[in-house]
Amino acid sequence: MRALLAAAGVVVDHPGSPRVLDGLDLTLIAGRRLALLGANGAGKSTLLRCLSGALRPSSGAVLVDGEPLRHDRRGLARHRQTVQLVLQDPDDQIVASEVRHDVAYGPTNLGLDAAEVATRVDHALDALGIADLARRPVHHLSFGQRKRVALAGAVAMAPRVLLLDEPTAGLDPAGTVALLETIEVLEARGVTVALSTHDLDLAWRWADEVAVLVGGRAVVGDPGVLLADDDLLRQAALASPWQARVLRAAGAAIPTPRPRDAEDVVAALGIRESAIG
């Protein structure tokens, strides 16, 4: 249980409007999957931008390996080799017109030599399964492909933590499956992944831990517990995932480990095929 990245009492204020984040605490443990949940405007993106160093909190601190992040030139430069954020809209992140050039942008800026840059780019393209797109112009790619390019650009920075803002938004079911497979590849390479999402079902299936944003703070806990907590979800303007709803409708408790797929749910309900007329 190593605290890799943490928010400690983070406050984000925009003058004249209610606080977006109001003393938020959150800890990312190495190798543990965190899903960030909350309604539109609850502050998910703001929190991710704080954690990535893009936004400086009005007060509170971001901690890396227990050390507070310093928002000066050197502190940020180091931080960016530890933490990378992938935005929801890939067009906010792609700066070059050709895939390979874009993925190379970060490593080149690091001042690596050409050979090292090329290795980094190849690895990133491989991890994302888009080696065949390397020489394609970005504006000819589909939305899903551009999402992968943006992700490759972050992966090429070789971060230890990857933050994904709504990574499945706009993807079809096959695209979502492919993304989850990519995340597994990255995790196997030692990257810790946290993501924000509206998709409760995804959070239930994927996460080791969920953080529900309510009133500028995070309620953190086990998905099987928090995502079945109707009071909390109502406050957060969310709904529970279907797995929890089915179990509740059947009057069954949520077992540990929680049932993720249809098969698990059916097993938890204790149904044998023969029992059904």
Binding site: A54, R80, Q93, I94, V95, N109, A154, M157
Partner: protein, 259 residues
């Protein structure tokens, strides 16, 4: 979304819905008084009147108003340094000491140049406060709507409307791209930063371009291409506002010119 504080004020003050003509009488009238003033007293009077009208009439918070005026004021003060400082008169011997206030190397500040600088500063700050009265009380689309009724300006005003509509999305996108460039260390050294700025400017133009094309397609279902976009509604012109406004402007002018 990224905002501009002047713009936010224009949408939220108490005079927002008033006819643009009403507010123009007041603001442009004061502007005319400010730039034609012959003594600094007039300029100071314009600042006082504009401030009173903005804060008491349109209920713009005093802090907001001061911040609005601070930007042009600092520009002006920096600018007048270039007027106050002249080259050392070649015939210094001929000038009396009273005329030269300060010398340093080839530069000097003389009574004449200092007076000119002071006069310019007052005129500029007074002018800015008069114009900010309009800028703070009237959202840009309303101004453009009024402009479109002036013969010859319709096309320009309409394009201005599109500029305004696309502005905020583009500012937001530009800020986001810059932020993600910084995240990939795009501003680490000056040469890296120059390349990043070039890429940023290019992406932003592509964004503006594709945004316009997508808007064109999106609007195709709403109306035929090329029909005017029209102007938002504002209240009708009320003489009950125009007459007192004209009186205030005239009074400021008369008091200022003859005081």
């Amino acid at each position: 979304m990224a905002g501009l504080s002047l713009d936010d004020t224009a949408w939220t003050n108490r005079w927002r819905h008033r006819s643009v003509a009403e507010k123009s009488v007041l603001s442009l009238g004061l502007l005319l008084v400010a730039v034609t003033a012959r003594t600094p007293v007039t300029g100071l009077l314009v600042v006082v009147v504009a401030t009173a009208v903005a804060c008491l009439g349109a209920r713009i918070p005093v802090g907001t108003w001061v911040r609005v005026l601070l930007a042009p004021a600092s520009f002006v003060l920096l600018g007048v340094v270039g007027i106050a400082v002249t080259l050392t008169p070649s015939s210094t011997a001929g000038s009396s000491a009273a005329e030269v206030w300060w010398t340093g190397g080839p530069f000097a500040v003389t009574a004449v140049s200092a007076a000119q600088a002071g006069e310019t500063a007052v005129r500029a700050i007074a002018g800015a406060s008069a114009v900010m009265l309009l800028a703070c009380t009237t959202p840009m689309p309303y101004l453009l709507g009024a402009l479109s009724r002036v013969p010859g300006f319709a096309t320009l005003a309409e394009i201005g409307g599109v500029v305004y509509r696309m502005l905020f999305g583009l500012l937001h996108a530009q800020a986001r791209v810059r932020e993600s460039q910084a995240a990939r260390l795009g501003f680490r050294t000056p040469s890296v930063a120059r390349r990043s700025i070039g890429l940023l400017a290019a992406t932003t133009l592509v964004r503006a371009w594709t945004g316009a094309r997508r808007l064109e397609e999106g609007l195709a279902g709403r109306a035929p291409a090329g029909v005017p976009f029209g102007a938002p509604a504002t209240d009708a012109l009320r003489w009950a506002f125009v007459v007192p406004a004209a009186v205030v402007v005239l009074a400021t002018g008369v008091v200022g010119w003859f005081a």
